[in-house]
Every structure is written in C-alpha cells, then in structure tokens.
C-alpha cells in the first residue's frame, strides 16, 4: 500500500494525491490527517485531487468523512482540482459530496480557508 504524504505550510495542511488510490490508502490518509490536525492544530486542509482519475463512492465517502473529522478539530477541509469527467461521473453516480467544501484549484481553496475568521 502506498501512503499519501501530508505537508504543513503555516496553519494549513496540504495533501496532493498522486497515487492510484487503493481503499487502504484512503483509510490511512484519513487516519494520518486526523493525527496531523490534532497534533499540529492546523486550521485548514487542502486536498488536491488534480491527478485522481476516478472517484468512486468509497473514495468519495472517505473524502467527505475527512471533512467531517477535521471539523471536529475546528479545521476546514477543501477538496480542490476535481477533473470535469470526475465531477460528471460523481453526480451521475449519485454522490453529492455534501459536507465537504470544494474549490476549482488550490489557490481558490486557500482563499476559502483564509476568508475564515
């Protein structure tokens, strides 16, 4: 199983998913992020899925759950860089990704996080 690295810049954690996502990798990321947020007190998380070719219901649910978990630590998660084909497929699949914020790209995601008082 490959692990997704987490980088911290200021009060924000950055995750860029560059691997083919196995279910175990997503579960591991969820755990790693919860640990990292709780130990660093980060206020925001940006997850960049530009390189992710598909998001199925399991991956989508896990990303949404990361949003809910981070909120318990008073941190906001923004998913950025979703491919158009992925957005179309997710919608047809019936997954709304309710509960997690999304933004076009990392820059817009940061704007959302920085706009938070």
């Amino acid at each position: 199983m490959d692990r997704v690295p987490i980088a911290k810049i200021g009060q924000t954690l950055f995750v860029s998913i560059q691997i083919e996502l196995e279910d175990e990798s997503v579960l591991q990321l969820q755990e790693d992020l919860a640990d990292e947020i709780s130990s660093t007190g980060a206020r925001g998380v940006i997850i960049d899925i530009t390189a992710v070719e598909i998001v199925d219901s399991f991956i989508g649910r896990m990303l949404t759950m990361i949003g809910s978990i981070s909120r318990l630590f008073d941190a906001e998660t923004v998913i950025v860089g979703m491919r158009p084909a992925v957005a179309i497929t997710l919608t047809e699949l019936g997954l709304s990704m309710k509960g997690v914020r999304t933004a076009l790209n990392a820059e817009k995601g940061l704007e959302i996080l920085n706009g938070r008082s």
Partner: protein
C-alpha cells in the same frame, strides 16, 4: 478477452487500470472512460467485499451498427443477493457503504445485467459503447 482475479485492494486497482487502457484504446470519450472505470471500481469492490472475491473478464465487443464497446463480466461465488430490487435501490446497503455501488454503477453504463442465486454467487455484466 482478458481475465483478472479480484482478491485484494491491489487487484481492484489493476482492474481499474486495465479497463481504462481498454476504454481509451477503443474510442470511448474521456467522460465515458471515467464512467466505465468508476463502475468497474464499484463492481470490483462488490465482488471483493460482498462476494468474497472473484474474477472479471474484460472484452471488446462490436454492435450490429458497428460501434465498439467494452464489456465487463464480474463473477463471484459468494452468498448471492437475496432481494435484487432492494439491492438496486439507491441508498440501500448491506454493509457499511452508501448503497450506491450497484444502483450508481448501473447509471454509469449503457447495459447492465445482474444474475444472482442465493448460496451460489453473483454475476454482473455491463457494457459501455463508444458514441
């Protein structure tokens, strides 16, 4: 026709990669490739989690009017599905999922056939055609 085992999370990833390559090499659009690979991922996970593992056959098929399609044939010898109508309903789940695996993947493909016998196993055959 190619056949792949589905016995682990690794296998699910390999199935996705192979279906992507086949779909891209046979004229499916990027959106259609993505829909088919997503459906393959859902169905492969079902085979693994609910069917206790199985196999998938990947085949390039031709329609009568000359279109090319990708046909995926998932087989497991798990417990089967007791109530098909219920299993195909959005939001119904026997496990911890969202219940979108079967109902959602049916929407992502052009043809969908499910055959299941309690105690014997389940097969799901889907086809996505190039446009």
């Amino acid at each position: 026709m190619d056949e792949f085992p589905i016995q682990s999370g690794d296998d699910v990833v390999r199935v996705r990669q192979h279906v992507r390559t086949k779909a891209a090499g046979n004229g499916l659009s990027l959106v259609d490739q993505t829909k088919l690979v997503t459906a393959a991922s859902e169905l492969a996970r079902n085979t693994l989690v609910h069917g206790g593992g199985g196999v998938v056959q990947v085949e390039v098929v031709k329609s009568l009017n000359g279109r090319t399609g990708i046909k995926l044939h998932f087989t497991d010898s798990g417990p089967g599905i007791a109530d098909i109508e219920l299993a195909l309903r959005d939001g119904w789940s026997s496990g911890t999922g969202l219940g979108l695996g079967l109902s959602g993947s049916r929407r992502l493909v052009d043809e969908f056939e499910l055959d299941t016998k309690p105690g014997v196993g389940t097969t799901v055959v889907v086809v996505k055609w190039s446009r």
